[in-house]
Symmetry: none
Subunit: 243 residues, 4 copies
DNA sequence: CATGAATGAGACTTCATTCAT
DNA sequence: CATGAATGAAGTCTCATTCAT
């Protein structure tokens, strides 16, 4: 099988090349930003010539798009996989959050999401078609969260009247907003702890009938007591002011 | 007062010019992105020559910095002001959220935040000093949220063991993550509704003893609460007036 | 004398201003070079506004010209003065050299001469008229050297057949070529020593009887010399060829 | 040899391009000065696009550096070559001087030397490394003069106590100081004559017994003695070579 | 006379992309 | 398929000079 063997080798080499370019570009975009990374640098980092980069990706933007494709593929696949092996809703959310952060932090790819957001708004950089494409990827990925919540509702653990889209925004937005703080102190512990702190409030707010089991006794009496204090304080101020 | 009049006029014109440039740049950065906006375009949009732009702002980056400065000043001031006139913690959060969104949406300035984030991470674009400066502004602004929560805790309504930084991340991250969806449909209602959906879960998770008894206890407690608010407000105003 | 007093004061202030600008520009041109010094820097260093600089000097080039004027005035005057107080030709040359070096080194004004030379060739920067002007200044100054030599000849100490222009080139060229080495180690001793080393060879070659006996001795010695050369050349060639 | 032929052609064309740019830049720098020559002009004169200039030379300064490199290479090589074919010290100096002048005048490259000097002093334009590089080139070149003098001393014709560095300064400084006068009247005669006038005084001052009062006794006897030694040496070499 | 805001030409350089080899 | 030389448009920024105040 001389011919087919040769073809196989060729194909492998081609795929390797493409992967090299993709990887080099990802690393550089993540580290320096999209605009600060020239195609020349990418070619050099990938060990190919400038022309070759354009052989595989018609455009610098196409390259970015391919990276985002890959990235979302990773994100979505790992998320889906993990979900199937975990049953509890809360545990699933913790996993989703940690997986999200970890993949973003792994190759400092925080920049990736930012660029994506960035470009998705920039009208000069992406035609509607492509922009839509990225949105679609993002949609597919974030709906995994929706699925988890829905299943929780179906099982009767979560409040059926939850505002899903808002929770989704809080979940992913919160994770990414805080991510900057985590850059650098990449220790596993930190990530796990941070993830809990983010998920906990959401989890509490989701449950059926709130979480009334916490010490309810204090409530009324204490609140009244404190109200008294406040009125007294205000009275004092009023006295002062009118003196 | 010939001289001083003339000086005033001159000063006004200068400030006007600076404001024009700032405004033009803000609009363009917001619409097209930082990199896609050339200094030439900014100059043209501001009705001045390119050289003049650099007369007022030594660098394109300095211009961006000035814009962010202004933006944060607006954000911080309007937030602080609004807070003083509202007493309830929940109401304050709603205001904070709506104010945040509205200012960002107002001049399509979504891009502003993104750029800020973008730059604050890009190591090649900002020296430590400047990066620190932006961080400081962001810090000052977001701590207003902290203050609101802390006061809520002091008054006894919120759980003293709250994970403040996580809540902050959820609050601002959630708002900005969902903002993209709101771009375009800028109607007041939508924003108000969206804001409620974002704040509600957080609010629920914050309260002492969860919110199990909420529906029943509200009546008496809330009436007292609102009375307190009225007294406090009056006291504050009086204090201000007599200072 | 109210009016004339006022006029005096005004005149003084104007002259002071002009001098300030001149001095600032000289220092900056010397330190950073003509092209690297902007009119803005000059104005700042002189403590005046940019417009004022152009009030006193119509052009940046005119400013340079004025500086060179001043510089040559200093050079020429100090040289002439010094000469009158010294009688010996050798001593005069030593003085001339030291004076030259010292003035150039004083405010690191080496650059001045270079710029002058530089510009005197640059056809785009100086019209013929101005270029000629600088040449004239240089001419006037360097002729002082000529005068010293001529007087030495008249007194019978120097060979009347000296090639004056070549000696002049050697004198000033030698001084300035070596000046770079002296920048930095500005100690008096070094300059004095260096000056002697430059003047000594010239002085030797100038004196009467310098090579008077040459014509006679040449015959035998030179014949032998030429024979040596022929043999050596042959040896070298042979050596090369057989290597 | 299809491939290697093609490669050769390609390489040739590339070298031609580089040479074109180099030549165009040299001519323009020489004619108009470094600062007055824009990269656009250079590109136009070389018949390439502006981008191509930067393809070959990363910077305008790098281009200048390359020119100086080439220039010094020419200067040094031609000087070394010429020296080997001339035996007499005086003749060597005459050659060195004429060669120096002729190369500088050839492509009006006077400006080259000036720029070099200019830059070597301007602290803002060249980092230590590059400045050092140019100094090194200059050092290598000027030491050829030293070698000639040293050999003259060894042969016994020149005073062993000569102040070498001062003579070097006089030699090159004198040549360049007078060069301006020669620009334009480039006739061979003039150059030759001028060179003699510059070398003659130096030559006289160098010789043993220069100005009679120093130990004159040695002269004749010693010269003959040394001539004998030289002939013997040459004879030895001849013997060796013919063996 | 003094100011300094305003100008706009032009400088150097970068970069994505093309195409002949 | 792979190369890398070539392109030229566009970008940011500087600067000498002018002019209204």
């Amino acid at each position: 099988m001389n011919i087919s063997e040769a073809r196989n080798k060729t194909r492998e080499r081609l795929e390797q090349r493409e992967a090299d370019i993709l990887q080099a570009a990802t690393k550089l975009f993540a580290a320096d930003g999209f605009h600060a990374t020239s195609t020349r640098k990418i070619a050099a980092a990938a060990g190919v010539s400038e022309g070759t980069v354009f052989h595989y990706f018609s455009t610098k933007n196409a390259l970015l798009l391919a990276i985002l494709d890959n990235f979302y593929a990773d994100l979505t696949e790992s998320a889906r996989e993990g979900i199937t092996e975990i049953m509890g809703t809360r545990e699933r959310l913790l996993f989703l959050a940690e997986n999200h952060l970890r993949l973003l932090l792994d190759n400092q790819a925080l920049m990736m999401r930012l660029i994506q957001v960035y470009l998705s708004v920039d009208p000069n950089y992406f035609l509607d078609y492509k922009s839509t494409h990225i949105h679609e990827l993002n949609y597919q990925y974030t709906r995994i969260f929706d699925g988890v919540i829905r299943e929780g509702i179906e099982r009767g653990y979560l409040d059926p009247d939850l505002e899903l889209s808002a929770l989704r925004d809080l979940f992913f937005g919160g994770l990414e907003y805080g991510m900057r703080t985590l850059l650098g102190r990449k220790s596993t512990d930190r990530v796990a702890t941070y993830v809990e702190h983010i998920v906990e409030p959401l989890w509490q707010s989701m449950q059926v009938g709130g979480n009334g089991d916490k010490d309810t006794t204090i409530t009324t009496a204490q609140r009244l007591e404190q109200a008294c204090q406040r009125v007294e304080k205000a009275a004092k101020k009023l006295e002062k002011a009118t003196r």
